[in-house]
Amino acid sequence: MEKYEVRLSGSGGQGLLLAGIILAESAINEGKNAIQTQSYGPEARGGASKSEVIISNAEIDFPKVRNCDILLSLTQKSYDQYHEGLKDGGILIIDSSVNVGEDHGMHQVYSVPILETAVLVLNKPMVTNIVALGAIVAITKVVSHDALEQAVLSRVPKGTEELNKKALALGYEIANNASRQ
């Protein structure tokens, strides 16, 4: 692996900043280099927000994503705002609620019921980010499952470990069931 550029986009409050931190820490757990940045509006909830992670075996000079290898979009608004920059052949993981229209010919697109799983199956919208991380890693193998689980468990509040493990496992499951479009 040379370098992976990952962009996680969604709505403010979905926990994507934390998801980015966890993904970067997973990479560090594996001995790689990682850098995480964010971009958000002044509002605390809503709007479009993104968290970016670059994972590399080498030194990372420029900290922001320019040639996106992996893009997650949990909302239509964030897809519309941030999908530019996903490179040809890049992996696009969208929540099932997002419509990518006709512009996805060049990318590997996976539509995964991430929000539905967190809200309806687990009944815990706050684990949306962990379900999403499970799905991303299942599809892209950008870090190992063990490194990810270790990073998740060291970041989540005490007493929520089982819930988060379950969210991660469900993320893997729905991603493995999702067919490439």
């Binding site: 560090i28 995480q36 971009s39 990372i60 000079d61 900290p63």
Partner: protein, 377 residues
């Protein structure tokens, strides 16, 4: 002690550096994108016997660290955008009364409340001349999380050594970015404390400089009673209307920095030996410039990299030397041209100076710098 790589945010590294340097007092008013510095200071200072206080506004935050410093505590405040404007009057007070303090400014888009969550480098000139009157100042500008730690330690050391306010000029990217870092063991750090008087309290003249132009500083409430004022004052600390006293004081304050320039000024350079084009960049923009140098070098373009780490005083002599060697200096910055004015002043009639400017709240991309270099080739 076992070393551990960990993911750390720039703002967090700033607090870690401050505590490692001996910070014992923080006062401020939280503002994006510097808020984490206040939050983490509030959490960590009590654990090392320090005090955190959230003041009613930025003006009071600056005033409080001046007061705390006079009692002998190493003190810091952090702010951003309009908060930095509010601190200016008291920064001038710290400069004339020679009170050690560290002011962190995590730059965001301005003017006014501007773009609260976006990066900018629009406060470069404000860091130098934001408060009125001729005054000494030191400003340091980090471009990585690890360097934020190192420069915060250095900011405390310089402010203690020279009794001059030191500004740590960060930006939103460096403040909020998380990077893999390994912090040094405290035993590896050089920590400087201010000079304190060795004479008796009766013989103490609080503003009588020694050979290094810096007067020893007594802690308040230790029996050394003295007067502190923002007015022009003589060596006793009491105000004076004398032309001679005014002239001597301001000249000494400025000479204090001039005399120790070599100790204060630092920079980083790469690939300058054979460079025909020099990229001069600082803060987060230096990251884009470094990526641009690598990309251009791989295509055989002879481009070099220069990054002022001490931004004020500006590394004039080295930039002048490099200007003699290169054909063009390209200065990318996230403003409409501030530090470039220094470069243009130094390079007038010696070499060409080109600008790359961006003010929309986005970091400058490597390809934007590369495009400019290819244009001037």
């Amino acid at each position: 002690m076992k070393r551990k790589h960990r993911l750390m945010q720039g703002n967090e590294a700033c607090v870690e550096g401050a505590i490692a340097a001996g910070m014992k007092f923080y006062a401020g008013y939280p503002i994006t994108p510097s808020t984490e510095i206040a939050e983490i200071s509030a959490e960590k200072l009590p654990l090392v016997g320090g005090k955190f206080i959230q003041m009613e506004d930025e003006i009071a935050g600056m005033a409080a660290i001046i007061g705390a410093s006079l009692t002998g505590l190493k003190s810091m405040t952090a702010t951003s955008g309009p908060g930095f404007s509010l601190k200016q009057e008291n920064i001038g007070y710290a400069a004339i009364a020679e009170i050690p303090c560290v002011i962190v400014n995590v730059q965001r888009g301005g003017p006014s409340t501007g773009l609260p969550t976006s990066p900018a480098q629009g406060d470069v000139m404000q860091a130098r001349w934001g408060t009125h009157g001729d005054h000494p100042i030191i400003a340091l500008t980090p471009s990585s999380v690890r360097e934020t730690f190192d420069l915060t330690v250095r900011a405390f050391n310089l402010t203690e050594k020279y009794r001059v306010p030191v500004i740590l000029l960060m930006d939103e990217v460096i403040g909020h970015m998380r990077e893999k870092v390994e912090l040094p063991d405290p035993s590896e750090l050089t920590i400087i404390d201010r000079k304190r008087p060795t004479c008796s309290s009766e013989d103490y003249l609080p503003f009588m400089p020694e050979a290094d132009l810096v007067p020893p500083m007594a802690d308040f409430c230790t029996g050394y009673r003295y007067h502190v004022t923002g007015l022009i004052h003589d060596e006793t600390g009491f105000p004076s209307n004398s032309y001679q006293v005014a002239d001597q004081l301001i000249r000494r304050l400025m000479d204090k920095i001039e005399m120790h320039k070599e100790d204060i000024i630092t920079w980083e350079e790469e690939n300058t030996e054979d460079a025909e084009i020099l990229l001069l960049a600082y803060g987060c923009t230096a990251r884009a410039a470094k990526a641009a140098v690598k990309a251009l070098r791989s295509k055989g373009v002879k481009v070099g990299f220069f990054r002022p780490i001490t931004i004020w005083p500006f590394p004039e002599e080295r930039v002048r030397e490099l200007a003699e060697k290169v054909k063009t200096i390209v200065v990318p910055e996230m403003n409409l041209g501030q530090l470039v004015l220094e470069v243009e002043r130094l390079c007038n009639n010696v070499t060409k100076v080109e600008r790359v400017n961006k003010i929309n709240g986005e970091i400058i991309y490597p390809e934007e710098i590369i495009r400019k270099v290819e244009e001037v080739l």
